[in-house]
Symmetry: C2
Subunit: 429 residues, 2 copies
């Protein structure tokens, strides 16, 4: 880790800059694949699955037999853990349900807002090195809770044309049964445009590599909503002398092991904690299987020493981390002042990995500073809000003249007349 | 209006298709302007303001003197109407505030979600033929309510370098004072990247033409959130024999006058209402100042006769209109079954123009079928949700083993160890 001491405020932007991802070429390739999928449907899916996943699949629908088989391959302890995590995620996301409130804004004018499930949603679960069955929980549980009628899951096959059993088991356990062995850009295209086999969805969720993210952003320009753009994972830790250096090091490593481009920041106003954290990092690194990845990530990472607790908060709000751990004496008070972050972990016994798996909060969170404008995935992500108004005769009598005056001032006389025709009719009653 | 009788379900998609907008060329031009703004800042803004708005502005900051002057130019009745509309919008959007609920998902594991205002937001108010001061209310009131710290408003100058007084007056009335006379693509670029004068914002709101929309979508790919993509305005009306044909015609025209590409749909299972509505359309068209525009819009519009009330609902949910008026006997019951729409107007005395100006609901709504996956602008649009978790020793004792097991199954041993190191420390307590 690079140690930065008492930086001037004007240096913050440079210090907090994420490594930028060159993407001109990525975009061109992605667009090509998307266009092929749009034009050729299933045929293009087959072609790209062969090209990118190196497997020739006759059928990319996951069968009932495959789902049943997966269940036999997952050990019972893991099944129990998945069930407890599911329950916690369900409890937390249930609490996000909004209650309908009818407001009478003017006598006779009743307005309300209603959350309605998005009919058809698509969940993308990456393949790659780790079988991310936890992401199946994070996306599938709230989609089910929201009441989405059709939930499509796409995940890439391995070279044998199979999907990791933990992914299939988890999907089935939470009631997802429409699963396709399709990954990468081609799966995003399939869910965005629809193919003969895979339905077009209204919103696509889920993490992915540079290509999947670019594909999601592009289809976002073509009528399909997306959860958020996703970049490399990141954590910022605010710590003071009450922190436990071994815990801090473990948390930094749990993030650093994600990938060489993972972002790790330690921010403190107590210089004395840096050395013990470094020591613990060196110690813990030795036993880490993904040591090489973590070392690379740590090379780009920073420990920043600032002057005060308020500066710690300011700099972290400027950075807007995906995950924020607050390991300080006044962790709760500091948490109240966080304005930009995806998910916040308060106190010494709240590791980030708790939120990744089992605390109940969602782990699909905004990275790359997007936390300034975006929420992480939550129950609302699977719903849209529709507004309603019911206006009585007395109501239009009250606001009709206001509509008339304002519409006239905007030179929209048709708008005005829609009020006038009703006011006249009431006058003649 | 084209009358379509009892279409087969398989014909629906074609019937409901919106006119598509060729945009290859648009995108290229937009990208060029955005890149110039990013590279050259204020200099590019000046250049494009001269090029597109035909005015050479030395300074595009709206001064306090200009704001004061605007106030003198707005008549007092309009001021009163704006104030009542403001109050209604504020009442309705205040009701959307969410309450914090702390959930103990597992003993010792406390999770909650908090809505926090987006620090810096940008509002775009189009110029063009109509001075859309109502949009200043629709975006500015909830931004203020949410508590956004910095609210930037951009709106194009006219050829004299001025902004319509109703826009400036409304902005000032609701407490917006950072106003720039910059429009079109260049204003979106300015707010996305920041210039010497205009700050970079985290989210951009507001309607606009094809170019503005394309610019918003593109900067949406570069780290700035946007409210939603916006297309031509549209209304669908569900009517039965209890409707008032004069009201229906007025509502259709109030939409049709927006632009020749506006979308108007009338859906009914009572063929007998078509003729009187047509008659009223012909009658009311005669006095409409924007008659030519409305006639063009009506040419592309459709009256669809279906077999039943349930088919009326199915077809409208498939269309996902921006505005939906329900002028039927069972309007309220039908409203409950609407799953895809931006804003719903229930009963004969709820014209769409009520929501455009004064009922309290927002008029910034998803068009082009986006209502399937997007909400209209609401209080939440100006906030993001941050999740928090506070885990006690007892809490990590309870969920630590679950984290360990799941992390191990995902081959993320660093994640596992972040739980292990805490469990060990507790065991040694």
């Amino acid at each position: 880790m690079k140690i930065i001491k008492y930086p001037e405020r004007k240096e913050w932007i440079d210090i907090l800059k994420r490594p930028s991802l060159g993407d001109e070429l990525v975009n061109e390739n992605v667009l090509e694949v998307l266009n092929e999928v749009r034009k050729k449907g299933d045929l293009a899916i087959k072609h790209f699955t062969q090209k990118f996943d190196k497997v020739d699949l006759q059928n990319f629908v996951v069968s009932k037999a495959e789902l049943d088989e997966a269940s036999d391959l997952v050990d019972s302890t893991l099944k129990k853990c998945i069930e407890i995590a599911r329950q916690n995620i369900e409890k937390f996301h249930s609490s996000q349900n909004s209650v309908r409130k009818v407001v009478e804004t003017t006598p006779g004018v009743f307005c309300w807002q209603k959350s309605v499930a998005i009919d058809t949603v698509g969940l993308y679960i990456p393949g790659g090195t780790a079988p991310l069955f936890s992401t199946v929980l994070m996306l599938g549980v709230p989609a089910k809770l929201a009441g989405c009628k059709r939930i499509v899951l796409c995940t890439p096959p391995n070279k044998e044309g199979k999907v990791h059993p933990a992914i299939l088991y988890t999907a089935k356990a939470i009631g997802l049964t429409e699963i396709y062995k399709v990954g990468g850009i081609q799966s995003i295209g399939a869910m965005a445009f629809g193919t003969e086999t895979i339905p077009k969805v209204a919103k696509i969720f889920g993490p992915g590599n540079l290509y999947v993210t670019a594909a999601k952003q592009m289809i976002g320009m073509q009528g399909v909503a997306i959860d958020m753009p996703a970049g490399p994972s990141e954590v910022a830790i605010l710590a003071d002398k009450t922190c436990n250096p071994a815990f801090i090091a473990a948390d930094l490593l749990s993030q650093a092991e994600h990938g060489p481009d993972s972002q790790v920041l330690l921010i403190t106003c107590e210089e004395s904690i840096i050395a013990p954290v470094q020591e613990q990092l060196d110690l813990q690194l030795q036993n880490l299987p993904r040591k090489d990845i973590a070392i690379k990530a740590l090379e780009n990472s920073k420990a920043i020493i600032v002057k005060s607790i308020s500066e710690m908060l300011e700099i972290v709000n400027e950075y807007a981390p995906e995950h924020l751990i607050i390991a300080t004496d006044q962790a709760m008070e500091m948490a109240e002042q966080v304005s930009n972050a995806g998910s916040v972990f308060i106190g010494n016994y709240s590791p980030e990995s708790a939120g990744d798996y089992a605390s109940g909060t969602n782990h699909a969170l905004p990275t790359a500073g997007y936390a300034k404008g975006y929420s992480g995935v939550n129950l609302d992500s699977f719903m849209k809000k529709i507004s309603f108004q019911q206006i009585s005769k007395y109501g239009i009598f009250n606001i009709g003249p206001i509509i008339e005056k304002m519409a006239e001032a905007e030179d929209l006389l048709g708008h005005k007349y829609a009020a006038t025709v009703r006011l006249k009719s009431i006058a003649n009653d």
